[in-house]
């Protein structure tokens, strides 16, 4: 009988173009996603060397990082404008499909890939963006690359990669009511640290993962990079097939049935061996709130900031507390916020917005809080509006925006002012990430919504009466 294999090895073996002892493998890339910020220098490199884009048909571009979300027609920033203009020109010259700012398929690159069905199980997917790991939710091997690698993939449709080690993150049991996929991934990173995945591809397994919806799986895989892993994936199952059926770039009829059969066969075989396995129990997880300046600095909402004498990296913790304007041993629920951001490739899909809307429905955002919702794509926005979700948010006092990365990294006009505090559904709480001097707390959409109403962090389960 054939030796049981992990999904990572199955995908890898199918994509090796060239192998040589003592060298990385040359891997073929099935889908290359491109955005405006990390690509201009790559196209310029091609031009200087008189090279062409090898497979424009396997390349897909959008604009997301820089785009204005208030009024599309006003790009105040000349340099940002130039960057978008450059992408337009590069795509046109090279015959690459571009969903630009006004295109109905526009959105955050990691939201539109799955939405369009470009993302499929078994594909190798790269993008000049570290959250490319998101696409792993579909059982694709997807990872972020630098601009030199973007240029390499444009020119050759391949990339040199060392066969990664595999790390099985097993999530047993089932998440409790009010506890989300975001809480799960934050708890995993808090427990095992921001570098435990370095050098590995994570495969998330276990009952709790199987029970997640596809959108929830994307939230989990999205933050794999925050654990140091370039890629994180989940073996495809019937939910994966069901999600992709009928999407724009997915074949139909018999072709689809054959494809789907192949997808299901990719799942990790019973008895396959990983280089490492860690286990976490879903029942033990509470809603999470980050208190510090990396995503591992995170505690349950019932907890407090660390006590300096009890931590390993005391200087780092002290610096983080100072930056965040927090005391040691301060209860999380005592932290008052000024901003709420619901958006980003982690939590800006329709289900995220629906769940947050359910929390704020009929209530009002605390007057001292400025709250914004930024849908992940034009399509998400459109569907949300059809369902009346925008009205719920607006009536509660939220701003309702156009799709883009927005306040996740604050490259456009949406930022958190110095010293202000934001409950954010994004993935990074680094110093200055949401604006110079901004203080970011990572939370789920439900927790962000509840914080907007109360003006400070609350356990959303108490807020909704799940717990009393």
């Amino acid at each position: 009988m054939r030796k049981p294999q992990t999904i990572v090895n199955k995908i890898w073996n199918k994509h090796v173009v060239h192998e040589e002892k003592g060298k990385p493998d040359l891997l073929y890339i099935d889908l290359h996603l491109v955005h405006e910020v990390t690509s201009p220098q790559a196209f310029e490199g091609l031009r200087l060397n008189k090279r062409k884009v090898r497979r424009p048909d396997l390349t897909y571009a959008t604009m997301d990082h820089n785009v204005p979300t208030k009024n599309r027609d006003v790009v105040k920033d000349e340099i940002a404008n130039k960057q978008m203009e450059t992408l337009r020109k590069n795509c046109e010259e090279n015959g690459i499909t571009l969903a630009d700012m006004y295109h109905p398929d526009q959105g955050i690159v990691h939201v539109i890939g799955p939405q369009l069905g470009l993302t499929q199980p078994g594909k190798t997917i790269v993008c000049g963006d570290s959250h490319t790991s998101t696409h792993g939710a579909f059982g694709a091997l997807a990872f972020g690359i630098g601009t030199s690698e973007v240029e390499h993939v444009l020119a050759t449709q391949t990339i040199w990669q060392e066969r990664p080690k595999t790390l099985n993150v097993k999530v047993e049991g089932e998440l409790g009511p009010g506890v989300t996929a975001k809480d799960l991934i934050l708890a995993i990173i808090a427990k095992f640290g921001v570098r435990f995945g370095t050098g590995y591809v994570i495969e998330y397994t276990g009952d709790a993962i199987r029970k997640l919806t596809m959108e929830e799986r994307m939230t989990v895989c999205n933050m794999s990079i925050e654990a140091g892993a370039r890629a994180g994936l989940i073996s495809p199952d019937e939910k994966t097939v069901e999600f992709l059926k009928g999407r724009e770039y997915v074949p139909t009829g018999e072709a689809f049935d054959n494809l789907a059969k192949g997808w299901l066969e990719l799942a990790t075989d019973e008895g396959a061996v990983y280089d490492q396995t860690v286990t976490i129990y879903a029942e033990e997880i509470e809603p999470q709130v980050s208190w510090g300046t990396n995503p591992g600095m995170c505690v349950p909402v019932s907890g407090s900031t660390p006590v300096l004498n009890e931590v390993q990296y005391k200087e780092d913790v002290q610096r983080a507390l100072e930056y965040m304007g927090l005391e040691e041993n301060q209860p999380i629920t005592s932290i008052e916020i000024d901003h709420v951001f619901i958006g980003s490739c982690t939590n800006s899909r329709l289900s995220d917005l629906k769940k947050a809307a359910a929390i704020v429905e009929g209530k009002k955002v605390k007057p001292s809080v400025r709250a914004i919702v930024v849908p992940g794509s034009f399509s998400v926005k459109f569907q949300a509006e059809k369902a009346g979700i925008d009205t719920i948010f607006k009536q509660a006092g939220f701003e309702w925006r156009e799709a883009g990365c927005s306040m996740c990294l604050a490259m456009n006009d949406d930022f958190v002012p110095p010293g202000s505090r934001c409950a954010s559904t994004s993935n990074r709480n680094f110093e200055g990430r949401q604006g110079n001097g901004a203080r970011t707390h990572l939370v789920s959409p439900e927790m962000a919504a509840a914080a907007a109403i109360e003006g400070h962090f609350v356990d959303v389960r108490r807020f909704t009466g799940v717990l009393n």
Partner: protein, 193 residues
């Protein structure tokens, strides 16, 4: 990229762990469409205050580190965003070598593509060198070919590991795309299969 065989330089110690690429180069400087000119923005918010004035307490601003070209830092250097602007900024500022107990994968690769030598070294040794460089001007000599770091002051030599293929590329300053394109037949064969 520029080939690099040997490098002797002044050490700048950055005693912080998990230095993310958002700190190395903040996002407001990612809008350029060139690869050059990023050095002025390196560690921007650590080096400059809100009015753009140099922060005197940030060591890199001190005159004694003006010529630093070797950066030594704590674990997980370069984590976070994939932005290659991070190594571009380091290089443009004058850094050719980064030494740390561990690196984030994407940063490690991005550094190599730009002729920066990322050297992984055990925590204790890194701690020692950081200490030395904090106390007084401290120079190290990197011999990439021999995979040695030479501390002339203390007359010590320390071996470092680097995968052979990375080393070869750095030593020769090879254009990786040109090398890959020599495998055109294999790529085409794969596409037809």
């Amino acid at each position: 990229m520029e080939a690099i065989q040997k490098h002797t330089g002044l050490v700048y110690p950055l005693n912080r762990t998990n230095v993310d690429t958002d700190q190395i180069i903040p996002k407001q400087f990612l809008k350029r469409i060139e690869r050059t000119g990023f050095g002025q923005f390196l560690f921007y918010h650590w080096r400059f205050d809100d009015e753009g004035k140099k922060r005197p307490d940030f060591a890199l601003n001190k005159a004694e580190y003006n010529d630093a070209s070797i950066l030594i830092a704590g674990e997980n250097f370069g984590c976070g965003s994939s932005r290659e602007h991070a190594p571009w900024a380091l290089l443009d500022y004058g850094f050719r070598v980064v030494i740390a107990p561990s690196f984030a994968d994407i940063f490690y690769n991005n550094a190599l593509k730009n002729g920066i030598i990322p050297i992984q070294m055990d925590k204790q040794q890194v701690g020692q060198w950081i200490q030395q460089a904090v106390e007084s001007k401290f120079t190290l000599e990197i011999d990439l070919e021999g995979q040695q770091i030479i501390d002339t002051k203390n007359n010590e030599e320390v071996h470092f590991d680097i995968p052979a293929y990375h080393k070869e590329k750095l030593l020769n300053g090879w254009d990786e795309i040109a090398l890959t394109l020599q495998l055109e037949n294999e790529i085409a064969a794969y596409e037809q299969a």
